[in-house]
Symmetry: C2
């Protein structure tokens, strides 16, 4: 059977579907693959078994034009299928997958800047339909363009319910057959990732995590099962342009795995993903220290960006210097009021951390942990957002996205942390500092207009007139203020 | 001439005064000294020239009983004077000098605990009389039991006026004779140190500092002049029990001095001070890093405690571990509204930093930098206090002083930083965290009473009843709350 002869957008998804008898080890590796070719470019991709005698093979074309393919398999019905499709210009909302730019930032494949403003709903896909609908509705209103979410279900405080279904055949009671996946689970996951894509949200997919503690055992599978799961997942998902590979969350809390295990798992991701989606690993309590044999080094070549847990987002530039990679502090504590330290800061503090990270060229991450009568807490289950920080994060996101792409941390204006383009534009944040006035020596050649930004009240107050050379700007002497200073001539 | 035959308190001051012709190099070293003896203890101390043909020699007896002395000099009138005095029990307010206790804390010589709650008025002694009077009045009302103050005048932002007098003969216009001290200056300094003593305030005396920049040149004297100044100062002041030697403030901003120079100056302090007053050195921007050749190591034997400048007081335990010494964060930014980062945090933030340091077993320091129409800013000149943190620091000081002396950081109660005595008493601070409730597992053997402390509103709310074993305490879910949990049976 051939693919439907529809055009595919650049960075869209081409899918071949073939019916064939279920093979022995159909869910295993190497049953079906194909080579795609456009001019001098050849890309090999793997297919996967989707249950019920259905085999699928997906491909994300990275350039426009005519793509030809030929399939390979030991199974007669899957072998030697050839065809072609036309890859056309992407639609307006399609900017391609996200990649690293200039060692410290991100951009889409089409070159447009991407600034992650992420949130965390670890186990949202594992909740009942109605909760998932609420999550989707919330995300539609929210400022987030990235979400951290787990493939495996979660067993943790405020999150002890069973998931709606499992990635493997079997059950908690009877055990799971780790060689046989549950296609329904993955189809639903894919649907959710496409829903996220339609909202412009990157799926920062957490491949392993410790919040199982042996209840289902997905945190302590054999190495063979781990790698098999990764291969299957990647075969299904790598053609989704909004997927990021978060190898693990709080990997250092997973006592069953060692540094060498993570190395090997990263190697499998590298081998299996033909597109080079973003790859990282998220720490628990500890940052990597040189010579540590238990902590994982974000400096490895195969890690594209740092996914960090740390309460002190002012360390962004230090990490940037150490790793030369984009710095995403995916967890810098969550807005909420639960009894745990990681989940009870105020909206003011969350907003503050986003700004502190942003003006240093880094990216803080959001999460929300307000007690809820039904235990429906955003950070774990999704549902509704109750906090006051998302609105402020939206305000910040607009301001950051208005900056020129060449913006980077600047050090010419003292007394505040500043990002921008020298002599052109400065966005500075005072944080806990609340000066009565700000003095600066601007380039004498130009005039500048100044706006005072109240990061909490989300207001922008233009300062009357223009400034030139040595200037003084009166300020309201309260915390959480920012300045935007732009050249006007 | 003999000393007056009055009794001297333990840790009080005995002074010999002798009239003799001014010698060539009378202000220099080794003109007059004496040996004091009580039973098997012999202590050598140096005298000094106080101008107008007057020589003085001071001694602080460290134990009660009969002390005998004999003087030594090449000057006939100063040599071979003998005498004795009786050292009696100290009066109620006299606890002796402060020393290090248990590697992480301080106590007075009589064993009573001393918890530094310090402030900074760098150049207060250099201001006109009326300003100094205001400073004294403010200190009388304030909660501070330590003050950082410079010997040399200060030339800095908001502090450009000339001092009322100089430590050396001469003037800015005609130059200073660094071999000849100005006794009036030192007599006045001594008067101020005694005024501080009468208020129970330790004088953390800054011996060198960079806020001169060559205006008067005291930041760039010859090594000979530096050491001569130190010897003279110590001969005059070491018998003042409330003196601490702060070798320098922001030493790393003094480009004229190198690590070896500080080593040598510390050596002089060690040699000249017979009593071993507390010794430290205060950093500017940078903390010591191993192998640095420009940064000074608080780990040296001759440094008794760490006098730190750092905005992050939560590093207390890390420094404690590194240095095994008491941690005083003398500068963690100041309450105020000046345009400089170091001087424009809120009273809330200042209060917060004091608590964060305290529950980790460290000590934050206060300073105040509110703009003032006459430029009379507390941190530099003294005068009046306008801020809202001193009242809160007073509240904290009372709570800390009520803790048992054996208190130390504890790690059994999670979710807050805690100091206390295991199973007896816990003082915990939540800081930016604002849980709705607190769960803990107390020792099942005992009952505990709990108080919720609002660190900003300075209120203490007892929780009804007593707790035993696994307990839940409802909290107001706002930042800046603390808990005091005490065993009741």
């Amino acid at each position: 059977m051939d693919a439907l002869l529809t055009d595919v957008e650049q960075w869209g998804r081409f899918e071949l579907v073939q019916i064939a008898p279920e093979q022995n080890n159909a869910f295993g590796d190497g049953v079906w693959s194909a080579t795609f070719q456009n001019e001098s470019e050849f890309i090999d991709v793997k297919g996967f078994y989707d249950g019920d005698g259905t085999y699928r093979l997906r491909f994300m074309p990275n350039r426009t034009g005519e793509w030809f393919y030929v399939t390979h398999s030991n199974v007669k019905q899957l072998d030697g299928i050839t065809g072609s499709f036309t890859c056309v210009e992407p639609s307006q909302e399609n900017h391609g997958y996200v990649q690293v730019k200039d060692a410290g930032h991100f951009c889409y494949a089409d070159g447009n800047a991407y600034h992650p403003f992420g949130t965390t709903c670890y186990a949202w896909i594992h909740q009942p339909e109605e909760v998932r609908q609420r999550t989707i509705e919330s995300l539609r209103q929210a400022p987030f363009n990235k979400i951290r979410m787990t493939v495996f279900p979660k067993n943790y405080s405020f999150n002890a319910t069973n998931p709606v279904e499992f990635p493997f055949e079997g059950s908690q009671e009877d055990g799971f057959d780790l060689t046989r996946f549950n296609p329904n689970f993955f189809q639903r996951l894919e649907g959710h990732i496409d829903e996220l894509l339609s909202m412009g949200i990157e799926a920062d997919l957490i491949l392993f995590h410790p919040y199982d503690e042996g209840r289902w055992g997905f945190d302590r599978m054999s190495s063979e099962a781990d790698h098999n799961y990764l291969r299957y997942l990647i075969a299904r998902l790598s053609s989704f342009r909004n997927v990021w590979w978060a190898l693990a969350n709080e990997y250092d809390f997973m006592n069953e795995k060692k540094v060498e295990d993570w190395d090997a798992l990263f190697q499998t991701v590298l081998t299996e993903d033909p597109y080079g989606h973003l790859r990282s690993i998220h720490n628990g309590t500890k940052m990597y220290e040189p010579d540590s044999v238990v902590l994982y080094n974000h400096g490895h070549d195969w890690i594209t960006h740092c996914s960090i847990q740390h309460w002190d987002v002012t360390l962004v530039r230090e990490w940037q210097k150490t790793y030369g990679k984009p710095i995403v502090i995916d967890e810098c504590l969550y807005e909420g009021n639960v009894p745990f330290r990681w989940g009870n800061i105020t909206a003011e503090e969350m907003t503050h951390r986003f700004w502190e990270a942003a003006v240093r060229g880094g990216y803080a991450g959001h999460g929300e942990t307000y007690l809820h009568p039904e235990g429906e807490i955003w950070w774990a289950k999704g549902g509704k957002l109750y906090g006051e920080s998302p609105e402020r994060i939206s305000f910040l996101r607009q301001i950051i996205e208005q900056l020129p792409e060449a913006s980077k941390p600047l050090f010419t204006l003292r007394q505040m942390e500043t990002i921008g383009v020298e002599d052109e534009i400065y966005l500075g944040y005072f944080g806990v500092h609340r000066p009565s006035y700000f003095e600066a020596q601007f380039n004498e050649t130009y005039s500048y207009k100044v706006e005072i930004i109240d990061t909490w009240n989300m207001s922008i107050h233009p300062v009357e007139g223009v400034l030139r050379g040595k200037s003084t700007i009166q300020l309201p002497a309260k915390p959480g203020m920012a300045l935007r200073i732009q050249k006007v001539d």
